[in-house]
C-alpha cells in the first residue's frame, strides 16, 4: 500500500520534471502524452488506495524521512491516506487527469505547450502533498506549492500588456497572478500563526497528536488557533474580503481555471476546516461565524454573477458562491456534507469550465457572452456537456448538485439557523438563473457571433471522450450519498438530521427545486429567444454596482494599493535614500576621506616615518604617565 501512496504522490512530480526538461523547446506532443499518462497513473494509484479503504482496509501511513529535527522539534515528512484524504486524492487526480488530457487540445497552438504541462503537473504534486500530509507543516508546504503553481499558471501569458480596468477588469495576466499571490500571502500569515499557536502549546504538528491533545489548550487559545487557521482558509478559498483574486485569476488558460480555480486548489481551505474538525467542533462560535461568512459569500458572489458578461468570470463567481455553501456546511458542523459538496462541485464545475474552454476555443478566445448566441447548431455536444454541468450546478434532480446542495440546506434548517437557510435557498435560485442565463446566451437565440465575424467549430471527438468521466460523475455522483456518508464518517463526525427535519425534508426539497426551476425558467424566458438589452436596467444603480463587483476592486485599489504604493514611495525616497543609504554612504565616505588624507603620511621619506614613530612614542609615554598618575 505504501508503494501505491508513493506512486500516486510522485508520478506528477516525475511528469513535471520531465516536461520541465523541454520547457524552453517548441511544442512536443510527446510531453503532453507522457504527462497525461503519468497523471492517469497517479489517478489509478489513488483509486486503488480508495478501494482499499472502501473494502475496510486500514489507514495507510508512510514516513518518507525525518524532516526537521532540531532540539525538541521533530517533524517527519510523513504521509497518511485516510478516508478524507482518499476522497480528496481521487477527486484531485481525476480532475487533473481530465484536465491534462484536455490541455493537449486546448493548448495545441500555444508556444509554451511544454512549459504549461510542467507547471500543471507541479500543481498536482503540490496539491497531493497538501492533502496527503499527516502534519500541519507538510500541509503548509503543499499550500505554498499550490500558491506558487497558481501564480505561474495565472501569469502563464505574462507577456500580455496591462490594460485599464474599464477595458479588462483583471488588467493583465501578470497583474492578476501577482494579486492572487499577494492576497494569498496575507492569508498564509494567518495559517502560519495558527500553526505556531498549535506547536507552541502542544509541541507537535502531527494531526493525530494535535487533535488528541486539544483539551490541553485553553479556550482562548483554541479560538485563536481556529480563527488563525480559518484566515488561511479564507485566502486560499477566496472568501470575503480576500475574494477579488479569484475572478481575476481567470486570466490564466481555461484548463488552469478548471483545475486550480474551480475543482482543487480553492477547495483547500474547505479541506483545512474539514481536516481540523476536532478543533472547530470545540469552538462552535467560530464555526457559526464561518457558516455566516460562507452564506454571505454565497449570495454575494451569486449576485455578481447575475449581470456579468464574461463567460469565465460568471463561472468563477459561481465557484466562489459554491465555496460559500461548503463553508456554511462545515461551519455548522456537517463536515461530511461539506466534503460531499466539495467533490460533487469539483466534477461539475471542472466540466463547466472545460466546456467554456471549448466555447472560447471556437470563438477565438472571445469571452463576452453578448457576442455569442445560437452556438447550439455548431456546438451541440458542448451544449450538452455544459447543460448537464449547469443543471448539476443549479441543483436539479437527479444531478450531483441536487443531492449535495439540498443536504446543505437541510443542515441549515436542522440547526434552526433559518436565516442561513433562507439566504442559501435564495442563492440556489440565483445560481440556477445565472448559470442558465449564461448557457442560453451562449447556445440559444440569435446568432450574434456572425456579426462579429467568428467562425466557431466544434472540438474534436476525443476531447468529449476525455470529458466523459466528469459528465458521468456530474450526473451520478449524488446517487452515492449514503455510501459516501458511511465511508467518510468513519473519521469525520457523523451528522444526523433530527426527526423533525426528516418530516419536513420533502418540503425543503420541493422548495429548493421550485426556486431552482423557477430560476431556469426565468432565464429561459429572458434569454433563450435572443438578447434584448434594456438600457434602463443596465444603467440602474444596482446593475452598475453588481457589474463593478460592488466597487470592491476599485476600493481596494484606492484604499489599500494606492496608499501603500505612496507609502512605499515615501519609504524609498525619504527613508531609504535619505536615511539608510545616506548613513551607509556616510560611513564609506568617512573612511575614504580619512584614507585619502592619511595617505600623505606615506610619502616614502624615512625621515617622516621616523618622526611619526617618535610622535606615537611620545603619545604612548604620555598616556602611560597619565594612567600611572590617575591610579
Amino acid at each position: 500500500m505504501e508503494k501505491l501512496l508513493y506512486i500516486a504522490l510522485f508520478a506528477p512530480l516525475v511528469s513535471s520534471l520531465f516536461a520541465a526538461i523541454f520547457a524552453q523547446r517548441k511544442k512536443m506532443q510527446l510531453v503532453g502524452i507522457v504527462a497525461s499518462l503519468l497523471i492517469i497513473i497517479s489517478f489509478l494509484a489513488s483509486s486503488a488506495l480508495l478501494s482499499h479503504l472502501l473494502s475496510g482496509g486500514a489507514v495507510v501511513t508512510a514516513n518518507l524521512m525525518d524532516w526537521i529535527v532540531v532540539g525538541d522539534m521533530d517533524v517527519k515528512f510523513g504521509f497518511m491516506v485516510d478516508q478524507v484524504t482518499a476522497v480528496m486524492m481521487v477527486v484531485v487526480t481525476l480532475v487533473s487527469a481530465v484536465v491534462h488530457v484536455y490541455s493537449n487540445y486546448y493548448m495545441e497552438h500555444d508556444e509554451g505547450f511544454n512549459r504549461f504541462f510542467s507547471y500543471l503537473s507541479a500543481f498536482v504534486f503540490s496539491m497531493l502533498v497538501l492533502v496527503m500530509s499527516d502534519n500541519f507543516l507538510g500541509l503548509f508546504i503543499g499550500w505554498e506549492g499550490v500558491g506558487v503553481c497558481s501564480w505561474l499558471l495565472v501569469g502563464f501569458w505574462y507577456y500580455k500588456p496591462d490594460q485599464p480596468r474599464e477595458v479588462n477588469p483583471s488588467i493583465s495576466p501578470s497583474w492578476a497572478a501577482n494579486e492572487a499571490f499577494i492576497m494569498n500571502r496575507i492569508a498564509d500569515l494567518g495559517l502560519l500563526v495558527g500553526i505556531f499557536i498549535l506547536y507552541w502549546n502542544l509541541g507537535t504538528l502531527t494531526y493525530s497528536e494535535v487533535f488528541a491533545n486539544l483539551d490541553k489548550l485553553s479556550g482562548g487559545l483554541m479560538v485563536a488557533a481556529a480563527i488563525a487557521l480559518f484566515i488561511g482558509a479564507m485566502g486560499k478559498s477566496a472568501q470575503f474580503p480576500l475574494h477579488t483574486w479569484l475572478a481575476d485569476a481567470m486570466e490564466g488558460p481555461t484548463p488552469v481555471s478548471a483545475l486550480i480555480h474551480a475543482a482543487t486548489m480553492v477547495t483547500a481551505g474547505v479541506y483545512l476546516v474539514i481536516r481540523a474538525n476536532p478543533l472547530y467542533s470545540q469552538v462552535p462560535d467560530v464555526g457559526y461565524f464561518i457558516a455566516v461568512l460562507g452564506t454571505f459569500v454565497a449570495i454575494f458572489a451569486a449576485s455578481m454573477a447575475l449581470v456579468n458578461r464574461d463567460l469565465k468570470r460568471i463561472i468563477a463567481y459561481s465557484t466562489l458562491s459554491q465555496l460559500g455553501y461548503m463553508f456554511a456546511a462545515a461551519g455548522l458542523g456537517a463536515y461530511w456534507v461539506a466534503l460531499f459538496h466539495l467533490a460533487a462541485h469539483a466534477f461539475f464545475k471542472a466540466l463547466l469550465f472545460l466546456g467554456a474552454g471549448n466555447v472560447m476555443h471556437a470563438m477565438d478566445d472571445e469571452l463576452d457572452i453578448f457576442k455569442m448566441g445560437g452556438l447550439k447548431k455548431v456546438m451541440a455536444k458542448t451544449y450538452l456537456y455544459m447543460g448537464v454541468a449547469s443543471l448539476a450546478l443549479a441543483g436539479i434532480w437527479p444531478f450531483a448538485g441536487f443531492y449535495s446542495k439540498d443536504t446543505i440546506l437541510e443542515v441549515a434548517f436542522n440547526e434552526h439557523t433559518y436565516g442561513i437557510w433562507f439566504v442559501l435557498w435564495l442563492t440556489a435560485g440565483l445560481t440556477a438563473f445565472y448559470s442558465f442565463r449564461q448557457v442560453f446566451l451562449v447556445f440559444e437565440g440569435d446568432e450574434r457571433y456572425k456579426k462579429y465575424g467568428f467562425h466557431p467549430h466544434e472540438a474534436p471527438n476525443w476531447v468529449f471522450i476525455a470529458l466523459l468521466p466528469l459528465l458521468v460523475l456530474a450526473i451520478v455522483f449524488g446517487w452515492w450519498k449514503e455510501e459516501f456518508m458511511e465511508f467518510v464518517t468513519l473519521i469525520l463526525p457523523p451528522y444526523e438530521m433530527s426527526e423533525e427535519t426528516h418530516h419536513v425534508a420533502w418540503i425543503l426539497i420541493l422548495l429548493t427545486s421550485a426556486i431552482a426551476i423557477g430560476g431556469i425558467v426565468l432565464a429561459y424566458i429572458k434569454y433563450a429567444n435572443g438578447l434584448k438589452r434594456d438600457p434602463k436596467i443596465e444603467n440602474s444603480f444596482i446593475y452598475k454596482l453588481l457589474q463593478n463587483q460592488y466597487y470592491i476592486p476599485v476600493f481596494y485599489d484606492k484604499a489599500i494599493v494606492k496608499p501603500y504604493a505612496e507609502l512605499s514611495d515615501i519609504a524609498w525616497k525619504e527613508i531609504d535614500l535619505e536615511m539608510i543609504d545616506a548613513t551607509v554612504d556616510g560611513i564609506a565616505k568617512a573612511i575614504e576621506v580619512t584614507g585619502d588624507k592619511s595617505r600623505e603620511i606615506q610619502n616614502g621619506n624615512l625621515s617622516t616615518y621616523l618622526r611619526w614613530m617618535v610622535a606615537g612614542f611620545i603619545i604612548i609615554t604620555i598616556l602611560a604617565v597619565v594612567s600611572v598618575v590617575i591610579k
Binding site: 610619502n603 616614502g604 621619506n605 624615512l606 625621515s607 618622526r611
Partner: protein, 101 residues
Amino acid sequence: MSLTLTHYLILSVILFVIGMIGVIRRKNLLMLFFATEIMLNAANVALVALSSYIGDLTGQLFALFIMAIAASEVAVGLGLLILVYKKQGTLDLDNLTLLKG
C-alpha cells in the same frame, strides 16, 4: 655629592633625547645609525643602573644582550648601507623615496 640612581637616569634620558633628536633631524642614513646606537645605549645605562639599584642581575644581563644585538645589527645595517649607496649613489633620506605610496 655622590652619584645616585637619579643621576644615572637623568643621563639616560638626556642620551635618549639626543638620540631621538638625531633620528628626527638627521637626513643621512649613516647618521641615523649613530643616533639609534645612542638611544640603545641610553637604555643600557638605565638598565644597568636600575639593576645595580635593585640588586638583580637580570638588567645587566639584558644590557649585554642588547650590546650583542646592536653589534650584529650594525654589521648587517652597514652592509645594507653600502648596497644602498652602490645602487642609489646617495644616503640622503630625502632622495630615497622609493616606497612613496
